[in-house]
């Protein structure tokens, strides 16, 4: 290993990097903002996807029994439900237990003590094996004698998936614009350092340095801009995750916010990859323009 060569090379990169500190700060800041947005977008998308899948898995049908249903009718309905091969499990929930569950779920949000009588009917809680069969099962159950209605959270799931779709489209547009802006700013920064070092470059060309060799320090500079920007962004995102996320959970208890489907290592790796790639591509282009002349 030729340490002298490495020291010379790193010295050149470092000198470049520190020479235009103001411009470098601008480039790094832009990359950081871009990557914070990208990180938020990727996080929300992953969380939503996780939530959607989770909700689909959890989806259950509530078969509310008519208030005047006889015990024989109830028993018949129970037998039929157990016999249905599409149904995974059936559970009888009395109106009393239903109220207790409601109390537990809405504790601190809605004061159920205000209720003077129990408004809930008895119901069967049905879990279906395959989410796609939920609508047909619900329709069948609704026709049974003694059953008043059978409902499941159809609108919630649909809206959630729609919201995810909209977020994805808007998000991709925003990210594309920001990545482009970050690229342009990095490329301008590199062009300034190229301009500041045009004497050095012309001498390098004169003594027979290859274009690749001339290019590499500038590429490293762009890469450094991108990676430092990504580092800054990851720091900002980590702080946000640690401080804002618990408050968000607290503020929105009825939404099943869940970040367990987000793999932080993969996310951070993606962000660094994007930052580095933007830096390399932008500097490659701006040095190339200079070398061609």
């Amino acid at each position: 290993m030729d340490w002298g060569k490495i020291r010379f090379f790193l010295g050149e990169v470092l000198r470049n990097f520190t020479r235009n500190a103001g411009m470098q700060a601008t480039a790094i800041g832009t990359v950081a903002i871009t990557i914070v947005l990208l990180g938020l977008f990727l996080f929300v998308r992953a969380a939503l996807a996780g939530m959607g899948a989770n909700l689909l898995d959890q989806i259950e049908i509530s078969a509310y029994l008519a208030p005047d249903a006889t015990p024989a009718q109830v028993a018949a309905v129970h037998r039929l439900l157990i016999a249905d091969p599409r149904i995974a499990s059936v559970e009888f929930v009395s109106k009393k237990r239903g109220l207790a569950e409601l109390r537990a779920r809405t504790k601190g949000v809605i004061d159920t003590a205000l209720l003077t009588e129990n408004p809930l009917p008895d119901k069967f809680r049905i879990k279906v094996r395959v989410p796609e069969e939920v609508p047909s099962v619900a329709a069948g159950v609704r026709r049974l004698r003694g059953v008043q209605n059978a409902v499941y959270g159809q609108t919630v799931v649909r809206r959630l998936l729609q919201l995810g779709d909209v977020l994805r489209r808007v998000g991709i547009g925003v990210i594309v614009v920001f990545v482009a802006v970050a690229g342009i700013i990095i490329s301008n920064t590199i062009r300034l350092t190229v301009f500041a070092r045009r004497r050095e470059i012309s001498i390098m060309q004169l003594v027979g340095a290859t274009n690749l060799y001339i290019r590499i320090p500038f590429i490293c500079e762009g890469l450094l801009d991108g990676l430092v920007g990504a580092l800054l962004a990851v720091a900002i995102l980590s702080i946000a995750r640690a401080t804002l996320w618990p408050r968000l959970l607290e503020a929105l208890p009825w939404i099943q916010l869940n970040s367990s489907s987000v793999n932080p290592v993969v996310l951070v790796a993606e962000l660094f990859l994007v930052g580095g790639a933007v830096g390399v591509v932008a500097s490659w282009i701006s040095v190339g323009r200079h070398l061609r002349t």
């Binding site: 030729d2 340490w3 002298g4 060569k5 010379f8 004497r199 050095e200 012309s202 001498i203 390098m204 060309q205 004169l206 003594v207 027979g208 340095a209 290859t210 274009n211 060799y213 001339i214």
Partner: protein, 236 residues
């Protein structure tokens, strides 16, 4: 070593810098290229180190067809050449040692070779004792000697000097010319473009005279003005 056949160079603005130039320079020669400013001396130099390409004609340098050379092969050509300019083209934020080493380092040379070669050329140009100084701390002659050391550090076969003494006083000019002569005696082919009449007349080397982009005279052991001995010039 250097061969030009019917070389013409027309700039995009229509100026004809060189017009059907034919020239042969042998290995180990020392050649002056003379003529007024704007007669094509620098253009000819630029063609040789492939900073420009001829509009027509063939240029061969040490067996390499320079006119046909692809862009990616230019660095390889330039490692065979040393180039020296009137304005030295030193990097002001690097020491003499670093300036000279830079020329090797950017070609990817091994540090072991840099450490061996740089002191050798600095000794040759007589600047070993000032290797840690910056260009701003040196005289013009010393700066030009640094530039020559840089041009020589990659062991070129050909040294091209474009007005090397243009910014120097007579004493420094003489020193630079003596240095170039010593380099030539070690076997390097040296081409010097100049309009310094005194230098040319004193050195009595091959003199190629350009006028309006054409070679008008080419003399072994010539004077700045063709066919005229110094006495004749002085007597008018």
């Amino acid at each position: 070593m250097i061969s030009l056949r019917n070389v013409s160079l027309v700039y995009p603005n229509g100026v004809r810098a060189l017009d059907k130039v034919n020239l042969e320079i042998a290995k180990g020669e020392f050649v002056f290229l003379v003529g007024h400013s704007g007669t094509g001396k620098s253009s000819l130099m630029r063609l040789l180190y492939r900073e420009a390409r001829p509009s027509a004609g063939e240029i061969t340098l040490d067996g390499i067809r320079v006119d046909r050379l692809r862009r990616t092969r230019v660095p390889a050509l330039r490692r065979h050449l040393g180039v020296v300019f009137q304005d030295y083209k030193l990097l002001v934020d690097k020491t003499v040692w670093e300036n000279v080493a830079f020329a090797m380092q950017v070609t990817g040379a091994h540090t072991r070779d840099v450490m061996r070669q740089v002191p050798r050329v600095l000794d040759l140009v007589g600047l070993s004792h000032k290797s840690r100084m910056y260009p701003g701390e040196l005289s013009g002659g010393e700066q030009q000697r640094s530039a020559i050391a840089r041009a020589l550090v990659n062991n070129p076969k050909i040294l091209l000097c474009d007005e090397p003494s243009g910014n120097l006083d007579p004493t420094n000019t003489s020193e630079i010319m003596e240095l170039l002569l010593r380099i030539n005696l070690k076997g390097t082919t040296v081409v010097v473009a100049t309009h310094n009449q005194a230098v040319v007349d004193r050195m009595r080397r091959r003199v190629i005279r350009l006028e309006d982009g054409r070679i008008v005279t080419d003399e072994e052991r010539g004077y700045y003005y063709l066919g005229l001995g110094q006495d004749q010039i002085l007597s008018g």
